[in-house]
């Protein structure tokens, strides 16, 4: 899928700052995330992780900073694009900290909606679809096949026709990841995917993320509090505290960084 060398940064964040009135939620953060790697972003509550994601995916316009995505021989300046363009053109997909599914629609429909732009073009902006032309029917069948593929990956084939809102919590989290993957992203941003999962589900999730990285050759940006997941699967870790980047590096190195230990265990520990 991806040409170019695997070490080229897929995403570059430079001097990102996001202010809310007097509050600086993200302050001068720079880092890069490479293709085919899992980059974890960790930090205590309120460190600015979700805000960083919101800037990346166009939900906030950063106060200062440059966000560049580059793949397939092209470069996108994310801070200048609208949220839906970022998802569609720069191929950045995301999940949300508090799951955002289309609860009243079925599991399968959630995954079909994720392929909206492709299907919309195939239906000639609904004209071909309205008259049921075969070209559209073929596109829809392909969309269902892609959905089935991801349902198999996340173990939800049996419940494909259920209302998404009726699924247990863990299944909803997995469905949200499957839905993001159905948009065929090059960068997948996951906001605390293991929150509220039991240890077995967390282990399955780790496996899924490794599968996505290795078999779909995309970059993954992972916000996570569950250190067992982070340490096990991340190739690179960025640590935020009070909006600033306090450490960065391979997981083994970050784990032993005194600044990180101080941030997590509190000031007294470091003093």
């Amino acid at each position: 899928m991806s040409e170019g060398n695997a070490a080229s940064p897929l995403l570059t964040v430079e001097h990102l700052t996001q202010r809310f009135g007097g509050l600086v939620a993200v302050s001068d953060v720079s880092f890069s995330a490479r293709d085919r790697e899992i980059t974890a972003i960790i930090g205590p509550n309120g460190a600015g992780k979700t805000t960083l994601f919101n800037c990346l995916t166009g939900f906030y316009t950063p106060t200062v900073g440059r966000l560049t995505a580059s793949h397939s021989g092209r470069t996108w300046l994310l801070e200048r694009m609208e949220a839906h363009e970022i998802a569609r053109q720069a191929r950045v997909a995301r999940t949300f900290q508090n799951v955002r599914l289309f609860g009243g629609m079925s599991v399968l429909e959630n995954l079909i909606v994720a392929q909206h732009n492709k299907l919309m073009a195939a239906s000639c902006f609904t004209l071909a679809g309205l008259f049921g032309l075969p070209s559209y029917r073929k596109a829809e069948a392909a969309a269902v096949e892609r959905a089935r593929y991801w349902l198999e990956r996340v173990g939800l084939v049996d419940v494909a026709d259920w209302q998404a809102g009726n699924l247990p919590y863990g299944a909803q989290r997995r469905l949200e990841i499957a839905r993001a993957m159905c948009t065929e992203p090059r960068l997948l941003c996951l906001d605390e995917p293991a929150a509220g999962l039991n240890p077995r589900e967390s282990a399955d999730l780790s496996e899924l993320l490794l599968f996505i990285r290795d078999h779909h050759a995309i970059g993954v940006l992972l916000i996570e509090h569950d250190m067992s997941v982070v340490m096990q699967i991340s190739d690179h870790v960025v640590v935020l505290d009070y909006g600033r980047k306090i450490s960065e590096g391979p997981s083994a190195q970050v784990r032993n960084d005194p600044a990180v230990i101080r941030a997590y265990l509190g000031e007294e520990e470091g003093a």
Binding site: M105, V144, N166
Partner: protein
């Protein structure tokens, strides 16, 4: 009365609460109801209406007392008392009709609440379980509607030739179908896309005026103007969409309402074009697809419908024709909606209703999707408006007030947002019943209100709020069964 057997302390507390509610009612009604300004030769004077205030306060007091006692487990006694009040309202002479109405309505609502409370106490089901059971009924109805639908369409097709179908029945049919069509049109915006549009009547007005003006000034025929009216209404939707679609929720609803009022006020005041409050009269009737006219004495070079088919002239021919026109238009909207729900655009609308932020994150351009909903629903509203103009032969801004929007919205919401069959049933209830009971004069709006309260108590999400998936991975049977099993478990 109702308190017999209740521990005195309980009853006292209930009395106290009812008195408090009465006190608040007194504070509110004294300035609002109790004092009315009256214009006399000597200027404005304040005219007191203390009797009305006393009545209102008494009603609030009794109502609150009833509700508190229901909660305290005295449902049976309250039910009896409230039923007695309704009976009294029905049979006994009252000083004013308003008083009788209040006694009837108040008694009914309290009796209803008592009845509901009694039923829920007798059944061991929780509210959630009852909702789910109703949902299953809705699902079964939905299944049945696969059959009911064609049967209903067949019935609608043969209705004009039924023995009981006199002119009045067909006229009522036209009116009902107009509201069904409007309901289905608004359903696209409210039910599917989840945009609460309080100004749908504006599309209807634009369509009606577009046809009336084009027909009276340029002499264009109905069949040429019908698509044009749709296009004009659709353009109005796009124009409205650009400023309005940035807003969300309540703000959106209020601005659509405001725009509809603006349209009405423009129609009212732009006398040079719209003829202002006088309206436009002598709007041409539709021809038989431009081939023949519905008249006894056709103009030179024109055919008459009865000549074309070798019938004897009857004025009812035109009405039957109009009936079929609106039936066809309504069915077009219905088939369009059924079809679009299975297409990317329709699915995106529903996704937008469920979670618009998630939509954006999936690369869906919200603005375009919403504009499409507005333009398409607006077009259908415009068609209905053109039909209304040609059926009435006369339109004025009076026909496009907020109450029209409210009725169309009530049809959609009561029917169960997004449900096509629900819209039909709700239109029958909301438009058909008051129309059928015109003899009851002022009571019909009261009955309308009571009906709304009833449905909202019984099915807060609408009559048929069940939604079937638009695409299945597995067979339908197994999907239903699995879902039901999981619900039984969880």
């Amino acid at each position: 009365m109702a308190g017999a057997g209740t521990p005195p302390s309980d009853f006292k507390a209930a009395l106290g609460e009812a008195a408090a509610a009465g006190g608040i009612a007194l504070l509110l009604t004294l300035p609002l109801v109790g004092m009315r300004t009256l214009e006399t030769s000597g200027g404005l004077v304040i005219h007191p209406h203390f009797a009305d205030v006393a009545l209102t306060v008494l009603l609030v007091f009794l109502g609150r007392l009833g509700l508190v006692l229901i909660e305290a487990g005295r449902g049976g006694a309250v039910l009896a008392a409230a039923a007695a009040m309704v009976a009294a309202g029905w049979l006994l002479p009252f000083p004013t009709e308003a008083l009788r109405g209040i006694a009837l309505a108040g008694g009914l609502v309290v009796a209803l609440r008592a009845g509901l409370a009694l039923r829920s106490r007798h059944s061991t089901l929780t509210q959630a379980e009852r909702d789910r059971r109703m949902d299953r009924v809705g699902a079964r109805l939905q299944d049945a509607s696969r059959l009911i639908g064609p049967v209903a369409v067949l019935f609608a097709l043969v209705l004009p030739f039924m023995p009981f179908a006199n002119r009045g029945v067909i006229d009522l049919g036209c009116l009902l179908l107009t509201y069904i069509m409007l309901g289905w049109g608004l359903n696209i915006v409210v039910g599917l896309a989840g945009l609460l549009d309080l100004g749908y009547v504006a599309f209807y007005a634009v369509g009606a005026y577009a046809y009336a003006l084009m027909a009276t000034t340029f002499g264009l025929g109905f069949w040429v103007c019908l698509p044009l009216a749709g296009i004009f209404a659709s353009l109005y939707g796009l124009m409205l969409g650009f400023p309005v679609l940035r807003l969300r929720g309540d703000y959106f609803a209020i601005v659509t309402l405001a725009f509809a009022e603006i349209v009405r006020i423009v129609l009212l005041n732009w006398t040079a074009v719209t003829n202002g409050p006088v309206g436009i009269a002598a709007i041409p009737r539709p021809s038989f697809f431009g081939i023949a006219d519905f008249t006894n004495s056709p103009a030179e070079g024109h055919l008459a419908f009865h000549q074309l088919f070798g019938l004897t002239f009857a004025p009812v021919h035109r009405i039957i024709f109009l009936y079929y026109v609106i039936l066809a238009l309504a069915l077009v909207v219905n088939f369009f909606t059924l079809r679009i729900r299975r297409l990317p655009l329709g699915r995106a609308w529903e996704a937008l209703r469920e979670d618009d932020i998630a939509c954006t994150a999936l690369g869906i351009n919200r603005t375009n999707i919403k504009l499409a909903a507005f333009a398409i629903a607006g077009m259908f509203g415009g068609f209905a408006g053109a039909f209304f103009a040609t059926r009435q032969g006369f339109i004025s801004p009076e026909s496009f007030t907020f109450i029209e929007s409210a009725i169309i919205l009530a049809v959609v919401v009561l029917g169960g947002m997004g449900s096509q069959v629900g819209v039909v049933i709700a239109a029958l209830l909301v438009v058909g019943l008051p129309e059928a009971f015109r003899d009851l004069a002022q009571y019909r709006m009261l009955a309308f209100g009571v009906g709304m309260v009833l449905i909202m108590l019984w099915r807060p999400r609408g009559l048929l709020a069940h939604r079937d998936p638009t695409i299945l991975l597995h067979l339908r049977k197994s999907a239903r069964q699995q879902q039901a099993e999981s619900e039984a478990r969880g």
